[in-house]
């Protein structure tokens, strides 16, 4: 299994644990805006941090390889995808519970979204040439 895949899969497992912990924290918090924020953040950690990240890691490993020097595509691009995805999810998780206090926290969501969009575009570019017969 290539190093990049191992990093994706291990971080995915960490996000699974974090998502479940956030969900548990939401269950133990009195109902209110903070609880709702925690639930939304936990859902993102699960859908993006766990599921999407696991898909990315396994796809980089399993999709048909290219011929030549970089059979799994650019390692640098793969690392950027890893970084953007995890920074995006972490920022989202950090911003959601405190956003109810107002201020400029709403722009943290935009930054988190842009980071995740960057990861999505990067991943599409990374595997584009490997979806073939």
């Amino acid at each position: 299994m290539p190093l990049l895949t191992r990093l994706f899969v291990k971080l995915a497992l960490l996000w699974l644990v974090v998502a479940m912990a956030a969900q548990a924290a939401a269950a133990w918090t009195p109902p209110g805006a903070t609880t709702r924020g925690l639930q939304v953040a936990a859902f993102h950690a699960l859908a993006v941090g766990w599921l999407t990240q696991m898909v990315f890691g396994v796809a980089i490993w399993m999709f048909p390889k290219r011929k030549g020097d970089a059979p799994r595509g650019s390692d640098l691009l793969g690392r950027w995808v890893l970084l953007l995805l995890n920074v995006g999810v972490a920022l989202r998780l950090a911003a959601e519970p405190v956003s109810t206090r107002g201020g400029g926290w709403a722009w943290a969501f935009v930054a988190a979204g842009v980071a995740q969009l960057g990861a999505a575009i990067g991943f599409a570019l990374l595997v584009r040439g490997r979806i073939r017969g």
Partner: protein, 138 residues
């Protein structure tokens, strides 16, 4: 990788980018950079893109590629007749596009028809995967 799987996986990647873009737009509503009335359609578009366009379509595509092939098969179709699967993928994507359009103009009847079409497409794809969940050598 067969044509049906390539089609489904490529379209799944396109929906991933579209869904993430819709997610950024939803966060722009929260930052008050977009008008509040756009929140509902954008959120519905974000969820449908990610859930059906990305996850579901990717899983279907990879399953069509990876599930066991038939031991005794028509040489043209080692995975069974591919055409219903391809039709299912096409219907799913057209229906999802209609769902997006319907959400934008709040046309709930169109949205209901589009979701029914998504269900039909899921049945078409599942019908091609079902016989391949089998013991080896069959």
């Amino acid at each position: 990788m067969p044509f049906g799987a390539r089609l489904a996986i490529r379209l799944a990647l396109a929906w991933l980018v579209a869904g993430a873009t819709a997610g950024v737009a939803v966060s722009l509503v929260r930052a008050e950079a977009l008008p509040p009335w756009t929140a509902g359609p954008l959120y519905r578009g974000h969820v449908a893109s990610m859930l059906f366009g990305w996850f579901t379509q990717l899983v279907l595509g990879v399953a069509f590629w990876m599930l066991p092939k038939f031991a005794r098969h028509d040489p043209r179709w080692p995975r069974g007749d591919e055409r219903p699967f391809v039709a299912g993928v096409v219907v799913m994507n057209v229906a999802l596009l209609c769902t997006m359009g319907a959400a934008a103009v709040d046309a709930s009847q169109t949205s209901r028809v589009a979701f029914a079409a998504v269900a039909v497409s899921a049945a078409l794809c599942a019908s091609r995967l079902w016989p391949r969940i089998k013991a080896f050598g069959v």
